[in-house]
Symmetry: C2
Subunit: 179 residues, 2 copies
């Protein structure tokens, strides 16, 4: 089973780090193969940020993202670029305050940035809330693997904050606005 996960948002949201953490979770702790890519294009020039992860049970011979089945979208611009032409069977997690449109595929809306700011005091962990939601809304990565990969990757001293964000995301992944 091959999963292609596309992350998109704006600079400063931790879009690349999200992909790095997800790839690490899958490869090191879920015992799968993973490749994380970051293709710099014109969109990056506008302050947009984009990254991707391919996760597969088998070795990954073709490391280019062709047609994602999973999206994590944290800006309206990111939705406009990647969200309008998804596969019918794709799943999208979107920040429901920052993305105004809704996709034709299944989606889960998470008010990640506003919850990060209001309940956790730091909007910088919105990306970790989105990753937490990914573990309950999809099967691309397990909660246990994600927790370990977060602990490996976040700055020392911020572990508790990030684990709180992950758990908040897991709750919201079950309860969030969805189709």
């Amino acid at each position: 089973m091959r999963h292609e996960i596309r992350f998109s948002g704006f600079g400063g949201q931790g879009i690349i780090l999200s992909a790095v953490i997800l790839g690490r979770a899958a490869a090191l702790y879920d015992n799968k193969n993973a490749v994380q890519t970051q293709v710099y294009g014109p969109e990056a020039r506008g302050g947009a940020s984009m990254s991707a992860v391919i996760i597969d049970d088998e070795p990954i011979l073709y490391p280019k993202v062709r047609d994602p089945d999973t999206y994590v979208i944290m800006s309206q611009q990111g939705f406009e670029k990647y969200g309008c032409n998804t596969r019918d069977d794709a799943v999208m997690l979107l920040d429901s305050d920052l993305v105004h449109d809704r996709p034709s595929c299944r989606y889960v809306g998470i008010p990640a940035t506003s919850v990060a700011k209001k309940e956790l005091g730091r909007d910088i962990v919105a990306n970790i809330i989105m990753l937490g939601a990914l573990t309950t809304a999809t099967s691309v990565v397990s909660g246990g693997a994600l927790e370990k990969a977060i602990l490996d990757s976040v700055p020392k001293g911020t572990e508790d904050l990030n684990l709180k964000a992950m758990k908040k995301g897991q709750e919201l992944g079950i309860q969030g606005e969805s189709s």
Copy 2:
């Protein structure tokens, strides 16, 4: 002209961030094409870290690293894995305190971690010293592009420290132990 740059070291040295910054410099500010990849493998399980960037004047149709022409190596383990079988015409930047062996290809040894700690007070910027050295020891990225990409990528409040590290690396790239 296609360049493949391989970074290797251990977790916490900023090996992935180095690749992200380099790709950003090339694509956004040197007007080239760039793909940054992070393949998670068994080596990552041992605390090793590895990343790569492909930079090309032409669109990158094949995003897999085949045979790097440029290496940035920040641990002895990284050297043992990637440094022993390089192309004869490759160039390697290595942290001369952390890597004990020397390659058969051309190399520049930079005491990045010890200079970062002793002269800048923070060993975390050793990777930025290595990137600075890359701009004077090779032509893969320009100094101006690197400076802008560093400013885009490092945490707010650390810009001066990181630019000092870059400039220190540029000096050391000229003066460092080399073959």
